[in-house]
């Protein structure tokens, strides 16, 4: 899928740097650039600590602790959202963005029923009536193949299985027809067969509702199946970026090649599994530190 240049991207991140306490010498995100077209799924892939979740958090304005944006722009449908006052960002987030988190248990309030947790966004931010919101929630639960939506709406999170909870969160994410969804390792905690069903659901919902999707994962296999484009990250730096097919077929960097060589494949049992060589990560770390020194000057 190629995007004609006339279309305003759903999300455009330009030269984004995030640092602890705003200290430019120690950046968590290092001059990140990426563009996601409306209706596109963009994968953020890398090992733990690569900063892939950090990008989603920056877009949502929910950076943890002392992490601060030190430079860069985030355009959401052409509008710069970094400078927005908190209240406006909150409304924008409620109306037009959504998050599918990794752990469906901690993301749901254990002491509230499922129903209001899905409809909150509609009632409290978008001003729908409760009856209308309930109708919509029921329809969405039906769309994510939950057989008895009324029972699930009345249930508490602990009464549902992991796969069911993740479906509930997918329904919640799509309930207000958002323009951008950040999915943060949404299937890492699930069994492989459940993962396949959930990925199918996310892709189908995304195609039907046409949101742009930022998909965080450490699994190149998952990227291959759901993402049209991808950024490979190491140490908060985009090592490689492009169409998923191109990158998987002909990775341009040593690091991406090494990640692929470390991924086990049942169809290639005789291929040797090699961990990413320390000299590759050391070289990237050195490059990152060098870039930070230049950057801090």
């Amino acid at each position: 899928m190629t995007t004609p240049p006339a279309v305003t991207p759903a999300l455009e991140i330009r030269n984004l740097s995030v640092a602890l306490g705003g200290d430019r010498r120690h950046r968590l995100l290092r001059s990140v650039n990426l563009t996601v077209a409306p209706g596109e799924v963009h994968g953020l892939v890398g090992e733990s600590g690569a900063g892939k979740s950090m990008i989603g958090k920056t877009v949502f304005g929910i950076l943890p602790g002392a992490a601060r944006v030190v430079e860069g722009e985030i355009h959401f449908h052409g509008r710069d959202i970094l400078g927005l006052p908190k209240r406006e960002l909150r409304t924008l987030r409620g109306r037009e963005m959504a998050l599918i988190p990794q752990d469906p248990l901690t993301a749901l309030n254990p002491s509230r029923r499922i129903g209001p947790q899905i409809t909150d966004r509609l009632v409290k931010i978008l001003g729908h009536s409760q009856a209308d919101a309930n109708r919509r929630a029921r329809a969405l639960l039906d769309e994510v193949s939950i057989r008895d939506p009324d029972r699930v709406m009345r249930a508490y999170p602990h009464e549902l299985s992991g796969g069911m909870r993740q479906r509930v969160l997918i329904a919640e994410a799509f309930v207000a027809e958002p323009k951008l969804i950040v999915a943060d390792e949404p299937t890492t905690a699930l069994d492989v067969t459940v993962q396949r069903r959930i990925l199918g659901l996310i892709a189908a919902m995304q195609a039907r509702h046409g949101a742009a999707l930022l998909f965080v994962t450490h699994d190149l296999g998952v990227v291959a199946k759901v993402c049209q484009s991808v950024s490979v990250l190491f140490g908060g730096h985009v090592v490689e970026q492009g169409r998923t097919g191109d990158i998987l077929a002909a990775p341009q960097t040593e690091y991406t090649r090494a990640l692929l060589a470390a991924t086990p494949r049942y169809d290639r049992p005789d291929a040797e599994l090699t961990p990413v060589a320390p000299k590759i990560t050391a070289a990237l770390t050195l490059e990152n530190e060098w870039a930070d020194m230049q950057y801090a000057r």
Partner: protein
């Protein structure tokens, strides 16, 4: 040589979810009529969906659960109903590596103390030296011995778990989803390590996982489970070539290979 001979193994546990006040909990059958052998020196993959009983089977092999029916013979000894006292001397040959090393390593103990504990318990002549040898074997240098679990990365913690399990030079290790929480590169490291250790120490391993790609790389034999029963068993290569059971195929097809395939999501 056979390490395990399992015949008609059945396990029923009290179902506390269905328990009513002041009444005994009704029994729920977790494993029913499992029969299989594990040859010495084999690495057997136990796979299945969550809830299929694969971890429970592993735990029953190392007698963390007592079977309610059938028999488990380990290395010539019937361990089906041995009392805790009777099984203790055998424990040095029945080791476990747990899924989550951050909850299975004592946070108040140093790495050295953690690896030495089973050595002391089983009367090693020189626990300090043996623990060092075990840490060397998993590629953790001397510097790690005095650290605490929270000071380690996930992969290093899993190595400590492995070092603790191999320190006694056991005959059998049950590895319960030990790479599912790790990064791709760390996972490749741990798989390579396990392969090396198996060869060097002539270990027999039962490796529980839901990732058939990992299992294909590591295990020479396979047991596929569903709802507490074995639906397929045999050599890994043969099962991958001609899976007999629809659920085995489903498990295999559910693995996303890193290549473009538009039909995968909709199939």
């Amino acid at each position: 040589m056979t390490m395990f001979t399992v015949r008609d193994l059945t396990l029923a546990l009290p179902n506390l979810n269905a328990k009513r006040a002041f009444r005994p909990a009704p029994a729920i059958t977790i494993l029913s009529d499992l029969s299989f052998d594990i040859p010495a020196g084999a690495c057997v993959g136990i796979v299945g969906e969550s809830g299929s009983g694969k971890s429970t089977l592993g735990r029953t092999l190392v007698r963390l659960y007592e079977p309610t029916g059938g028999s488990v013979v380990f290395d010539g000894t019937d361990i089906t109903h041995l009392s805790p006292e009777e099984i203790r001397p055998l424990r040095r040959n029945l080791q476990v590596i747990f899924q989550d090393p951050s909850s299975s390593l004592n946070p108040r103990h140093t790495v050295a103390a953690i690896v030495e504990a089973p050595l002391r318990l089983h009367g090693s002549a020189n626990p300090v030296a043996d623990a060092r040898a075990a840490l060397d074997a998993v590629g953790l240098s001397r510097a790690f011995a005095s650290r605490y679990p929270h000071e380690l990365s996930g992969g290093q913690r899993q190595r400590v778990g492995i070092a603790r399990a191999v320190a006694l030079r056991p005959k059998f290790i049950f590895a319960d989803e030990i790479v599912s929480g790790l990064d791709t590169s760390t996972q490749a490291q741990v798989i390579a390590l396990l392969k090396d250790l198996q060869r060097e120490l002539a270990l027999t391993i039962a490796f529980v996982s839901h990732d058939l790609s990992v299992v294909r790389h590591l295990c020479d034999r396979l047991i596929v489970m569903s709802a507490g029963r074995i639906i397929e068993a045999g050599e890994t290569a043969a099962i991958f070539e001609h899976p007999q059971h629809a659920q085995t195929r489903a498990l295999k097809d559910a693995i996303p290979l890193p290549e473009i395939d538009d039909s995968w999501l909709t199939a």
